[in-house]
Symmetry: C2
Subunit: 228 residues, 2 copies
DNA sequence: GAGGGTTATTAGTTACGACTAACGAGCGGC
DNA sequence: GCCGCTCGTTAGTCGTAACTAATAACCCTC
């Protein structure tokens, strides 16, 4: 009982995935989508018209686009493929978490349902990818969580890193891994200076100082006193 | 105004792979290639001209094509990807050997060197795929073996199945697996009747009767008295 | 309410890789 | 030597998805 994959075509799938990621709430303007996909604005207008034709997106005023129900389902399937693949590449094939993004980006458009299911089975149905992103289930349901940016953690508080965003920047990934900023890590904010944007942290007992940008994308969950 | 454009591309790779498989010795006529790839003859002429431009194939009289050195190398890399992927899908993901062909056919064009190497490493550098085909090594060297068709085994002789060709026919694969005709199986020709094309075999102690076509593609190695 | 800047669209092109229809070249049979 | 078959090529189209250049629509400010 698989969800059918009608739209197909690499390019369409990328548009849908981008809309899912950019259009959490509001409709996405053409320009934003164009920048994100690194495609010219006219091309985007064009493609959006086709996707609207196919009832995968709904166009609002001034060309802004949002996913239809069907479009969102399709996008979630692409996201599922992407995240399962990243998980496979890192956890099974032992590739570095910073260098798997492009591979997953490519393969997500070419893995059949059969192979995807087999991968999922082989890995024991993981629910999060190596960056801590939740993996949509077979029905396209995505766990929604309320995470806070690490930079918002007040001085003196502790938390757990749950998600590390921006997996397309390899250097960033490498730095984070280096300093232990990976999902599951415990962090304590030793000193947050909102004025000059300098943050001193303690990660697994080690001190670290970083600017705001260096922390951007690290999402945490405040742990009151929950045991593991 | 753009530069010649280097090969890659799914379609090109399929042409190269087809030429490798069809053109063992002689050059391949346009029509044969067209039938094999299920593409119209004019399209083939066209594509061959481009591949010749790029020095991947050499065109002979009457349009017949054969791979150049560079073309053969490229084709062997595609074949390596295909066979490693099939091996992975069957041996690791536990998919059925009859149903992995299409998946491998698709993925072979999209797996990066990095992922391929990781798969190879993960599987311990296999040298044969699940159908017994040798896997070209990283340098594109392909083990050449002299195997005989099972139908040529004389009455009373025993042999070992080494290779099972024609992996794109699922029904066939299923039948063979059912009757134990898989690489590594020991077979004995109980009665070969060249006249009416009826063959009686013994596979792992079980009798089986088959017509010539039912055996076509099963390649064996005569074992004199080798142990193991 | 008239500019000016941002944003979106229209129009026209390009590349790739397939297609059909129609033409031409080789070759066997008589 | 001509007929006709098979095989290959030429010519012209199509669909997808990108592009640039030019234009139009909107929004904000004065």
């Amino acid at each position: 009982m698989s969800v059918p994959r009608l739209p197909a075509s690499r390019s369409r799938e990328n548009y849908l995935k981008a809309l899912l990621q950019l259009g959490a709430e509001a409709a996405v303007p053409v320009t934003v989508l164009a920048r994100h996909l690194r495609i010219s604005a006219p091309s985007v207008t064009n493609m959006l018209a086709r996707l609207a034709d196919e009832k995968l997106v709904v166009l609002g005023p001034r060309g802004a686009a949002r996913l239809s129900g069907a479009g969102e389902q399709a996008a979630l399937q692409v996201l599922r493929r992407h995240r399962l693949l990243e998980t496979f590449l890192v956890n099974v094939l032992d590739l570095d978490w910073g260098e798997v993004h492009e591979d997953a980006e490519e393969l997500e458009h070419h893995v059949s349902q059969r192979v995807l299911d087999a991968l999922d089975r082989f890995m024991g149905h993981p629910t999060e990818d190596p960056h801590g992103h939740p993996i949509p289930d077979r029905q396209g349901r995505l766990a929604r969580r309320a995470l806070a940016p690490l930079a918002a953690l007040p001085t003196g508080s502790a938390a757990e890193v749950r998600e590390v965003r921006g997996g397309d920047d390899r250097a960033r990934m490498a730095r984070w891994k280096q300093s232990g900023l990976v999902p599951g890590a415990r962090v304590r904010m030793v000193q947050a200076n909102a004025d000059d944007g300098v943050f001193t942290l303690e990660i697994a007992g080690r001190r670290m100082v970083s600017g705001r940008e260096g922390l951007d994308g690290i999402m945490i969950e405040r742990r009151t006193r929950t045991s593991r």
